[in-house]
Symmetry: C2
Subunit: 293 residues, 2 copies
């Protein structure tokens, strides 16, 4: 089964397991709205790619780790879109959860997704309880305090923050959890995979900053110019568009160079290069650098 | 060490473990504000009481289960107090988190507390990974969908709900998780402890409904009359004050009768009776029944 199918099935099974008898129907609908159809699923793809690189001998745990990370990512989007943060009406081209179901259900949807993520990890560790505990530790570190994505979002409520601290926590932490949890699930040492996750996360955030300034809002599926409007730290604002594009390319080169030696190293490099191209197409990079010159 | 000290130490250690270097300082302060000094800690007390009744041979896991349940309770209070729900300015006689730190940090504080609760359970299972997985399953069921406290809160967003479904999920589910996780942590069968938790939770909610109508707002630490103002299901509204008091007493009798046979059964009965007295003093019960007659 390919990884895209594995991720979709694991997410569907997780949702189905909690939508049953006795669940408030609007909560169940809002939770599904937040997760399906979803975006590129890049974090769970990374997680499974690392598990496969290490033999993937506990695929149920790897699938749960991957799905849990995606559920946590979806939770963070639902809460980030709330009126008190971005007040976004659109996400991936459709209504955000609070726009479709109201603010109260959006708060609860995020909460329910966080709980479901940890429940899922717990359920899949029967055969590998020690590995499950490592996945749980890795994932909770990527989400919580002091350095996970919740802390990253909280930097928006502080008077001062460096761009790097902000991006590392807001985006890098969950990417690092994705690569590392893939190794944990396969019984491998996860530390060598941390750098790849952090660099990809930072690159992803810089790409987002670039697209927030330069992209077509219809293709992007959400309004542009939000970072500036909301006064958020942004690589494009700090380094200019040309500088941000060069920084993105440098991060991607460092990400490729950081890939630990493993049986599928070449495939891994190709995956990272493909992802770079998807995030900020080379043609757009060239145009932007020319424009900024 | 008495259970009150154990709970306070476990909560403090959990907070200290994530407030360190790199944490946004206002988030750390808001999270601590949500947890300390706290209320009666009745859920973690129940959890430890059940663990002790079964020998408490894994006290670190029991402490973590107890503290995790209290962190999840605090998270639910922070989110329930948000402007989109109760819009409460006071909780336990002091400012709510959103009143003190703003709505954005209140959303993130709840999120961070949920993550910390699961992180804590995961960290304390090294010596008993199978028990840890059971604690994790019990606790996540008490909080998440379809029947946990997040679902209970979501019933407020549905056009129709029965009082019992609402109270069972909104309050009973986490009380049941507390009694059951205590048994899980001590390696005992948790199912026989479910009824006690559910009945105490329902009694606690009925007591809350009674106090919402009858109590002194200064002693209660929050405004009264909120259930009616917010159109929430309430035993006092549905059955009248006298009926609610009689129902509370019946639930407490059933709770005492449900206590499974265990070495400290007599102490357990005394604990439940003391808690009943704390929740709705017998003198107040008598007055209310007289008034309603």
């Amino acid at each position: 089964m390919d990884t895209t199918t594995r991720i979709a099935q694991a997410l569907n099974a997780a949702l189905a397991s909690v939508e049953g008898d006795g669940c408030p129907p609007r909560l169940a609908a809002a939770v599904r709205h937040a997760v399906v159809p979803g975006g590129a699923r890049i974090r769970p793809q990374l997680c499974l790619a690392v598990a496969l690189a290490h033999g993937d001998d506990a695929p149920r745990l790897a699938d749960s780790a991957a799905a849990a990370i995606e559920l946590l990512h979806c939770a963070s989007l639902v809460h980030d879109d709330l009126p008190c943060f971005d007040n976004a009406a659109l996400r991936r081209g459709v209504s955000t959860v609070h726009a479709a179901y109201g603010e109260r259900l959006a708060v609860l949807t995020g909460d329910a997704l966080i709980v479901l993520a940890f429940q899922l990890i717990g359920q899949s560790g029967a055969q590998h309880p020690q590995r499950m505990a490592r996945v749980l530790a890795t994932v909770s570190r990527g989400v919580g305090m002091p350095l996970g994505i919740v802390a990253g979002q909280a930097w928006e409520c502080e008077p001062r923050v460096t761009l790097q601290d902000y991006q590392r926590a807001k985006t890098g932490a969950l990417f690092a959890a994705a690569t590392m949890a893939g190794a944990d699930a396969a019984g491998a040492d996860s530390q060598p995979w941390r750098a790849l996750g952090e660099l990809l996360g930072e690159a992803y955030q810089v790409a987002d900053d670039i697209r927030d300034v330069a992209a077509d809002p219809v293709l992007l599926g959400k309004p542009i110019g939000q970072d500036q409007a909301l006064g958020r730290p942004s690589a494009a604002a700090e380094q200019g568009l040309g500088g941000a594009v060069r920084y993105f390319e440098e991060l991607m080169d460092r990400a490729v160079a950081s890939i630990p030696s493993c049986p599928r190293e070449a495939q891994f490099r190709a995956l990272v290069r493909r992802e770079a191209e998807r995030l900020v197409p080379a043609a757009l990079c060239a145009d932007l650098v020319k424009l900024a010159a």
